[in-house]
């Protein structure tokens, strides 16, 4: 087995790894995988440093000229904030040339050659760059400022395969080889990475776009997401009209706010209809844990249970976000949706490789993602035993941008290949927290405050 395995990972073609069945990849020991990972890592650094300006700058500052061991990459990993280090005013003032200049320093794709005439919105800008070969997506920071992930068409085949592999490993359901309708309470289109990925992937799935059911049949506006904070601030000051914002955008915002007022009811109505229509069929359901739980509890209260085929997939994640779920929420939602298991995964939008959760509740990394655990001084912790620290990932599938990112998550990693589920590969325990949330727990009182504290307070009192 070991000899067969070693040859599975071709260091010349890491993009081909996600096409290997996950059972084979999870059969590889860390000792077998790490030397090959290291080979690809060294090559990525050598290839990308000359063409990604931000990486070159960081490497120069850190005095890193070549990588020898796996841990050598840590000083030149990007803090996740690097992907949003542009001034927000560029978006407010629609200075897309400067925004493009900023993004160009993060990718090997030549964006300066792209013509930017006639752009009126962030959505337009993203579409223009996509037409030039990018698959530009974003995540949303807690502050509302978007992090842009400079992915390109070059990554798509590997990304697509990794996405498929993760879904199959987590749920046992392959929507590519089998026609499985999917339900997700989200938007049909948009450039938020998760939405964008789902809509790109649907053309590859057996059920196609027609089999993809979403709550909102329109695009999520990246402009609105990006400017949400500014718009709220302006609204509080009664200055919304002074912002020189496209009236169409303000109308969309009003529509969104209106939709959010009756989201729970809309969701229930939408889902109930699908549950009836697809009764007895194998389906794919995905959503945020808190919302999926609320939906299930409301359903159970009114005596409803879905009757999908029991081998259907239910994928949840994202935590409870302050929602006080009952202790037995997992059992309750399995009862409601009529599925045998709840699938889940751990990942971040910066990284294409996502870790599926195993039957024992651990998140296992596949070989194309190198996980790192860092101590408080950002020094890598030993890759042995059980360690708790800050999560950092290197994405070997990133070929046109730098794949090393340091997260703000505190996790516990089990390095030894001894998970009772049978999968090998380093794995995360279920206890995952954001450092910022942990730091907010203590009882310290200070007179030096922040605008955030005020907003928190307003949110708090308006939520009572």
């Amino acid at each position: 087995m070991a000899q067969v395995s070693a040859s599975v990972l071709d260091p010349e073609n890491a993009a081909g790894w996600p096409a290997v069945p996950f059972e084979v990849l999870f059969g590889l020991s860390r000792q077998e995988v790490e030397p090959v990972q290291q080979e690809v890592l060294v090559r990525r650094f050598e290839q990308l440093r000359p063409v990604v300006a931000a990486l070159d700058k960081l490497a120069t500052r850190q005095g890193v000229d070549r990588l020898a061991g796996l841990d050598d990459v840590v000083p030149v990993m990007f803090d996740h904030r690097v992907l949003k280090s542009y001034p927000l005013s560029l978006i407010e003032k629609r200075q897309f040339d400067r925004l493009t200049g900023w993004l160009d320093r993060l990718t090997s794709v030549d964006l300066l050659a792209v013509s930017l005439g006639g752009l009126a919105s962030v959505d337009d800008w993203i579409e223009r760059l996509d037409a030039a070969g990018m698959i530009l997506g974003h995540s949303s920071g807690t502050s509302g400022k978007l992090s842009f992930i400079p992915r390109s068409q070059q990554e798509w085949p590997a990304w697509r395969d990794a996405y498929r592999q993760m879904r199959v490993a987590a749920s046992g359901v392959d929507t590519v080889s089998e026609t499985v309708p999917s339900f997700a309470p989200t938007y049909r289109f948009g450039h938020h990475m998760s939405i964008k990925q789902a809509s790109l992937y649907s053309s590859y799935e057996a059920a196609g776009e027609a089999g993809r059911h979403v709550l909102y049949d329109y695009p999520m506006s990246s402009d609105l997401m990006s400017l949400a904070g500014r718009l709220r601030q302006a609204e509080e000051r009664g200055e919304l009209d002074k912002l020189a914002i496209d009236p169409g955008l303000l109308a969309k915002r009003a529509q969104l706010i209106e939709a959010s007022r009756h989201r729970d009811e809309d969701l229930q109505r939408w889902f109930t209809k699908l549950a009836q229509e697809y009764q007895g069929q194998k389906v794919w359901i995905a959503g945020v844990s808190a919302e999926m739980t609320r939906l299930a509890l409301r359903g159970l209260e009114s005596g409803v249970r879905c009757q999908f085929s029991p081998d259907s997939a239910l994928l949840t994640g994202g935590g409870m976000k302050g929602y006080a779920a009952p202790d037995d929420w997992q059992q309750r939602i399995m009862d409601f949706y009529g599925v045998r298991r709840i699938s889940s995964l751990y990942g971040m939008s910066e990284c294409m490789g996502t870790a599926p959760r195993c039957t024992e509740g651990y998140y296992h990394f596949l070989p194309y993602t190198i996980p790192y655990l860092l101590d408080a001084d950002f020094v890598p912790l030993p890759r042995t035993g059980t360690q708790t620290g800050r999560m950092a990932l290197f994405d070997l599938l990133a070929e046109t941008y730098w794949g090393g990112f340091i997260s703000s998550d505190r996790v516990t990693m089990y390095w030894d290949d001894d998970c009772p589920c049978g999968w090998k590969g380093p794995r995360l325990g279920p206890d995952i927290a954001r450092f910022s949330d942990i730091e907010g727990e203590d009882d310290k009182i200070t007179c030096a405050g922040t605008a955030q504290a005020y907003n928190d307070f307003m949110d708090y009192i308006s939520g009572i």
């Binding site: 904030r81 009882d443 030096a448 708090y460």
Partner: protein, 491 residues
């Protein structure tokens, strides 16, 4: 105070509760707190003492009401010198714990604790009372009508107060004790975990002066984990607490909000941020640049930028073409150098760089088109914005890192301040007089020349800074109940 070594390598400090002259040490039922940043400490179980921490019978304030304010001032003035760090082991312990738990470095903290006795200086206390509530109003009924004809009188009556104090500036504990004693109130202080002992040390020293003095008998100092309902349900009741002073905004507010009912008056010492505004003059010659740079270093560096009065963002009147931005960067260099010229009692390199801030600086320093980073989080730093926009993390700047923001039309800054903006340092003086009213209308609570922080600026007449408003309000006037007495005929 006893020090226990309960676990290998971990020291646990025992902190007593002080209840109306009594000292209650944590016994077998002691509860342990703290630990991640500061020392661990152990206190008695607040659940067992909750009903004693407050005064259920308002009539029990009679003794204080009958004590003349001059006697109270005498008592505080006697306490003051005993708080001197060099002679008071309790204050030394408080100093040590604050050093462990807080962000301040040893020289700065030593200077802060050195100022405690002066807060209890007799002359200062006299002025503080007279300029706020007025001695006559505290000691008796003050006639409001014409002499001999008055049928209306007013008195300032002490109330039952509770204070959730801030720990980043230890001075808060002393200020709270003074204000409370001078307003003849019953005072319960809930200590913060980032300064768990200063209030205890002061009130414990007060017990040493006289455990039976009416002032001593109206102080209680305790700690419990904010949010402990079993304790808080007993305390936050309108029948037991009339005025609740809460520092720290959301950090303290989230626990008390549900107890705020009519009958409990909230005195919110909301968290604040401060800025500076620098006119174009500072970029027009080496002398002016030096003066303004030194001023910014003082405004930001004081107490290592941990206090609310510390400048975090500096708006500079300046364009954004390359030449303007070069001069702005030059100004940034001058500020960076000026940080290192500050006396160590005022500012030092930080105990340890804030990891979060280090990451933020690391991320934007890769982006020279929009930002220039001078210095670092480990000693002192200046982030020069190259657009008219502060950095995303401007609110979290600490340990002497300022953000310079170019603003072509400096008058616009007045629209960007709010009630959250406490102090604004301005250069030059002509710009201060030009902007002050507009800043005040938008919420600012203090304007002053760049470099003259409140604690060092006394000018020719030091008395003028005593008894000033605090964050735009007059807390001592709010801590008392203003009672009217009317009679059918002149008294």
């Amino acid at each position: 105070m006893t020090v226990l070594a309960s676990r290998v390598g971990v020291t646990v400090f025992d902190i007593p509760f002080l209840i109306r002259g009594r000292v209650i040490e944590p016994g077998g039922d002691g509860v342990e707190f703290g630990g991640r940043v500061g020392a661990r400490f152990r206190t008695p179980d607040a659940r067992a003492y909750a009903d004693q921490l407050v005064l259920a019978d308002a009539g029990a304030l009679q003794d204080l009401a009958d004590t003349p304010i001059d006697e109270i001032i005498d008592f505080l003035a006697e306490l003051g010198p005993r708080l001197a760090l060099e002679r008071n082991p309790l204050m030394q312990a408080a100093f040590g714990l604050a050093l462990d738990a807080g962000e301040l470095t040893e020289p700065i903290l030593r200077d802060v604790y050195g100022q405690f006795p002066a807060l209890f200086d007799r002359h200062r206390l006299e002025l503080q009372v007279e300029k706020t509530v007025g001695k006559a109003y505290l000691d008796g009924w003050v006639e409001q009508g014409r002499a001999g004809r008055s049928t209306t009188r007013v008195r300032a009556i002490g109330t039952r107060n509770m204070h959730i104090i801030a720990g980043n500036v230890p001075m808060t504990a002393a200020v709270t004790v003074v204000r409370s004693a001078l307003t003849k109130g019953d005072c319960l202080i809930k200590m913060p975990s980032n300064d768990p002992f200063t209030a205890t040390a002061i009130v414990r020293s007060m017990i040493d002066v006289d455990p039976d003095h009416p002032v001593t008998r109206h102080f209680a100092v305790a700690y419990w984990k904010g949010g402990d309902e079993a304790v808080e349900r007993q305390i936050y009741r309108p029948s037991r607490i009339e005025k609740l002073t809460a520092w720290g905004g959301m950090a303290s507010m989230k626990h008390i909000q549900k107890y705020l009912v009519p009958g409990i008056e909230l005195i919110a010492m909301n968290p604040k941020l401060s800025i500076s505004i620098v006119g174009h003059e500072a970029l027009e010659g080496p002398a002016a640049m030096q003066e303004a740079a030194s001023g910014v270093a003082h405004m930001a560096g004081h107490m290592n930028q941990t206090a609310c009065s510390a400048t975090r963002v500096v708006y500079v009147e300046c364009g954004t073409d390359e030449e303007d931005l070069e001069r702005l960067e030059e100004f940034g260099q001058a500020i960076h150098e000026a940080f290192f010229q500050l006396p160590e009692s005022e500012s030092t390199i930080p105990k340890c760089p804030q990891p979060d801030l280090e990451e933020e600086l690391g991320a934007i320093s890769l982006e020279e088109e929009f930002y220039r980073v001078i210095g670092d989080a480990a000693s002192a730093g200046v982030v020069v914005s190259r657009t008219e926009e502060p950095v995303d993390f401007a609110d979290r700047l600490t340990n002497r890192i300022v953000n310079l923001v170019p603003v072509a039309d400096i008058v616009r800054v007045t629209g960007w301040v709010s009630e959250e903006t406490q102090t604004v340092g301005i250069y030059p003086e002509s710009l201060r007089t030009k902007l002050r009213q507009d800043l005040a209308l938008h919420g600012v609570q203090r304007t002053l020349p760049l470099g003259a922080t409140a604690f060092v600026y006394t000018g020719e007449d030091a008395d003028q800074t005593i008894g000033l408003p605090h964050d735009g309000t007059e807390p001592m006037r709010r801590m008392v109940r203003w009672v009217i007495d009317q009679s059918a005929a002149p008294a």
